[in-house]
Symmetry: C2
Subunit: 363 residues, 2 copies
């Protein structure tokens, strides 16, 4: 890290600013009934790491833009990230998120306790209403960009359109491919390459948008046709793409080797869900036939400590663990090399630390 | 009707143009996997009645605007309407829509047949992926407005933002209130007034947006701050609001008294789902105590022909049926009176016929 204390301080300060914009914003106020309004505000007000707002704002600063201009779009990407999590949690049947109950779980509990619905009806009610909460959050995020009054109209249109075409489409396609390959996992193993593609779509699309948007905000010229430094913005999008895949590899690794309490979610849920991660696919590719059969018989069931321990051991001994960590490291180096190509300034240092933070994190 | 043949001809021509814009649009092309791409295109390519595009385009014409400018936004509202139907069908567990299987049913069948998933897993897969299809359609619709290149940037922002704030929020709030009051129906009957409020939110919000947008497109002046004929656009929004509630009352009536084959969906599904419609609430308010108990014992279960016949009889004899038809007629008169206040032209005649069409329809 260049300057760990400065980085953490800047990240915390920015995260606070973005949180304030989100909590002050009146978009959710007119949502009814109250429990839906609460659900719309919930995830965006849970303090996340703020990695996406930082990427957007600092990319703007890197190219000499005024970081203040990037604040509303930063709040928008944070909300955007959160609506995808709400729908993701429904699909994955996850019950906790950042150490707290998931959106659909909270609503299902509300339906059980306050509306006296039977467990099955309450669960369906939770899923249905959480779906609607995510639907509103998606609109909230777009609205936030359109209401970024410090930005010229042409720029707001450009960014809001990119959010629909370059984020929504790939991100949801990635999610769908992920769900599809999980569902047919027992019948057909995807290749490591296919899983990497899914990671890129699911994670890197939004990160690339953040870096690119920051660059575009910094260099936008309001001409008859939008003009901006496309070379720099494309380089930064590539930087974020590398980081996104590295991030996801690290995420998969943490899902197995991380600490449950620090993570705030159950360890090895990827195994119970038979989620095709690069770590798992590489393990199946590298391990012995007998080990492969053992792993496949455990996947998708409620694995106990013994089973998880066994899979973890095979992941390490097969070399898959070190492959994943090595690849993640390589991608980080490529990302850092891109940053190096920009003139040094405060924001380049922060983005460098951001990259290390993403890869050295424990949660 | 002013001129039934002309109206139908104009509606069909407009509907064809809008369908072509939708089917030619490349937004869904990059969606994968293929079955999700197909799902995204499906509802918007099923020929609906095209009532929303007509309302938008003709409102633009009414105020002297060029109807060509309203075509992309008209395609956008048609797609918007369809994404809400996809999520609505998941919530209502409906299996048919416009005479064809619903989005989640098609995907569930695909999962069963092609991916060999077990029935329960296939049903969950269908719901999850249909949710994602709707998510993409929501973005598609917004993207369409942002890409309406014939409109000035400030106007595109204005309309796209209205779509998030004035349509998404009330429409989904209405949907949520509807689901909530259905869920607690056995324990607490909503008032007719509450149900009317839900109708307004669920149906009238998008219709008002259509009429208002048409008026705004026609009268927009690209000044430092957006300017348009707000008096006319508000009058037209009110016109659409009356029509929206009248439309919903007629819809509820058709759901009981309509013809199953003409409608393309099962009769009396509102009864099986214990859906709190104005027709039902008014019946419970007006009928005798013994009849009320009979109705309440049938609601929410799979009612047979005998039970549906009984409820239908009570709805008529209690005066609730005529209340609903009368109210719908009164709202239509108010709507038509608003139209009368505009100078006569071709589009005023078309909107007048549109109003009659909405209320005299058989499906």
């Amino acid at each position: 890290m260049k300057n760990d204390a400065l980085f953490k301080d800047e990240l915390a300060k920015l995260s606070l600013k973005v949180s304030k914009i989100i909590s002050d914003d009146e978009f959710p106020c007119k949502v009814s009934p109250k429990f839906l309004r609460d659900a719309v505000k919930d995830y965006p007000s849970r303090r996340g790491k703020g990695l996406r707002p930082a990427l957007l704002t600092w990319s703007c600063g890197l190219l000499g833009g005024n970081p203040q201009l990037a604040l509303m779009p930063s709040a928008a990407v944070e909300i955007y990230h959160n609506w995808t999590l709400v729908h993701d949690d429904i699909i994955d049947r996850d019950s906790t998120r950042r150490g707290l109950p998931t959106c659909h779980t909270i609503i299902a509990n509300f339906a059980k306790d306050t509306m006296s619905l039977k467990p099955d009806d309450a669960a369906k009610f939770g899923n249905d209403l959480a779906m609607l909460a995510g639907d509103i959050q998606q609109a909230w995020s777009t609205s936030m960009i359109l209401r970024s009054e410090k930005l010229p109209a042409e720029l707001r249109i450009f960014l809001a359109e990119k959010l629909q075409s370059n984020v929504n489409r790939p991100l949801i396609s990635g999610e769908a491919l992920d769900v599809e390959s999980s569902a047919i996992f027992g019948k057909k193993l995807p290749s490591t390459r296919e899983v990497e593609k899914i990671c890129r779509l699911k994670t890197a699309a939004l990160l690339s948008f953040c870096a690119e948007s920051g660059a575009i905000i910094a260099t936008f010229k309001n001409a008859a046709k939008p003009q901006y430094d496309s070379k720099s913005s494309e380089k930064l999008a590539k930087f974020a793409d590398y980081c996104g895949l590295a991030f996801q590899l690290k995420d998969d690794w943490l899902g197995i080797y991380g600490d449950e309490e620090t993570l705030g979610k159950p360890i090895a849920s990827d195994i119970a869900e038979a989620k095709p991660t690069v770590l798992l696919l590489k393990t199946l590719e590298l391990c012995q036939q007998k080990e492969k059969s053992e792993i496949l018989s455990i996947l998708g069931s409620k694995a106990g400590k013994r089973e998880i321990g066994l899979i973890k051991k095979i992941m390490t001994s097969s070399g898959a663990e070190s492959y994943v960590l090595r690849t993640s490291q390589k991608l980080a180096s490529k990302a850092l090399a891109i940053l190096e190509s920009f003139p040094q300034n405060k924001y380049r240092d922060l983005l460098e630390d951001w990259t290390h933070y993403v890869l050295d994190r424990k949660k």
